[in-house]
Amino acid sequence: MTNPYDFLVSPFIEFEFMRRGLVGTLALALGTGPVGVILMLRRMSLMGDAMAHSILPGAAVGFLFSGLNIFAMTVGGLVAGFAVAVLAGVVARTTELKEDASLAAFFLISLALGVTIVSMGGTNVDLLHFLFGSVLALDDQILLLIAGITSISLAVLALAWRPLMLECVDPAFLRSVSRAGAPAHMAFLALVVMNLVGGFHALGTLLAVGLMMVPAVVARFWARDVTAMIGVAVATAVLSGYCGLLASFHAGLPAGPAVILTAGGFYFVSLLFGPVGGLLRPLFRRSRHLEA
């Protein structure tokens, strides 16, 4: 039996890439946690998925012109993500199509276009990097980028908190008292795109949204108010990063999927045992109801 210290801590002390992976997922978790919770509360959980895919062609064009240059890919990803968010919104407002339907069309086109562009200019290894990221190869630039995105996210969320929450609960009331709803919504969409671009570098375009939505869904089973939900979501994401990296180290699993699978494990546990609506909860409930 190995010593728990060797098992749980040593990999991060001995190997720099493990430390970087841990710092990267920690920084990501702080931003994606609250963003994911808000997406879920606005019933936009799948929107995050769609946005994540729509980043791909932009990042791919950046890659085509300047190789695996982080700035070119980041700028490309941001531009493509914003463009799809805005276009989908415009189509939804000007045609009969609902926002989810128009987004579905745009993100599928984006995904196909992105894969085509990467394949034109690179190898299958590049494509895998694009789709699944490389959480064990985070360099200083990427870590700074992720930390910067997280800092901006927390600042913007603090500023736009009130209209964002109000727009979830009672959008008609917000419209009647303030015009802040639309700009707050746009700022929030921008945060979604930015956080997904940050996550894209670590986890790739297909899994970036995993660290955003799975912890948020987990949180719904443990907390009744928004602040607590965000706390649970961030903690889940951080723990998933840590456990996932360890699992990948010891069992030789691919790191990105291991992180998201760990989050998935938390999800199944929460689904069964979560105090707020977990499936097995009724079995543990005290059988007598209250008097009033």
Binding site: L41, L159, R162, P163, M165, L166, C168, V169, D170, P171, A172, F173, R175, S176, V177, S178, A180, A223, R224, D225, V226, M229
Partner: protein
């Protein structure tokens, strides 16, 4: 008698079909007016026109200098996500938007006002309850507490007492009377004619066209009500363009 609202040949509707047709008239400041009429008479449409959700297809609504934030509006079906994790206290506190805005803090004075509003609608003790656990009547009390805090000059209530028991309706009606005593202008769409006769000095009887408008006793006559009931509810796809 200063005017608070003036309708000038106002026509509101959907896809060119009028739902409120050629309405002219003035609501004076401090008036307490019931808007009465059968389903489909245009009551909600008129209210949407007043608060600016619906643009007129003819004529105009003059708010006589009121800013949008001086108007409090309670829609017929509030667009509230009851599954959202928010408690009664936070929900009511939104009514303070006019003084807190986007970033303003809620200090002791504001907290006192929130507690007062919650007490005024009889929900003391419910502050920490999540809105998903409230009954329909309790939710309506919450929305009224929020209206109280909005401190609006013009209050527009679209069928505020629907599906609400008599006791809750009476409690909320007391608040409406309080607003009236405070010289606020109140418009309420109602179906309970006895309530209108007992508590509302003015009434507007609407059946797409205005049937009668004035002192409640003169408006709610058998003859006028019969006239309103004969209104044709359906839009006519073959209708000609209105010449007026």
């Amino acid at each position: 008698m200063t005017a608070q609202l003036q309708f000038r040949n106002l026509t509101l509707g959907y896809e060119r079909h009028p739902a409120v047709h050629h309405l002219d008239g003035v609501v004076t400041r401090g008036a307490l007016t019931a808007v009465v009429g059968p389903n489909g008479a245009g009551k909600s449409t008129l209210f949407k026109g007043i608060v600016g959700i619906l643009k007129p297809i003819g004529g105009s609504v003059d708010l006589c200098g009121l800013a949008p934030r001086d108007i409090a509006y309670l829609p017929q079906v509030a667009d509230v996500d009851r599954t959202f994790p928010i408690n009664v206290y936070d929900m009511v506190s939104m009514g303070l938007w006019k003084c807190t805005g986007l970033f303003g803090g809620i200090g002791r004075r504001e907290r006192d006002r929130i507690h007062e509003a919650i007490a005024a609608v009889g929900l003391t003790g419910f502050e920490n309850r999540s809105i998903g656990t409230l009954s329909g009547g309790q939710m309506q009390r919450v929305l009224f507490a929020r209206l109280l805090l909005q401190d609006a000059h013009l209050i527009v209530l679209d069928e505020p007492f629907n599906a609400i028991d008599a006791r809750t309706a009476n409690d909320l009606l007391d608040l409406v009377q309080r607003w009236h005593a405070e010289r606020r202008t109140v418009l309420a769409a109602l179906h309970d004619l006895e309530m209108v006769k007992a508590h509302f000095p003015d009434a507007l009887l609407l059946a797409r066209e205005p049937v009668a408008w004035g002192a409640t006793g003169d408006v709610l006559t058998a003859e006028n009500l019969l006239k309103a009931r004969h209104m044709c509810e359906a839009f006519d796809d073959e209708a000609h363009e209105c010449a007026a």
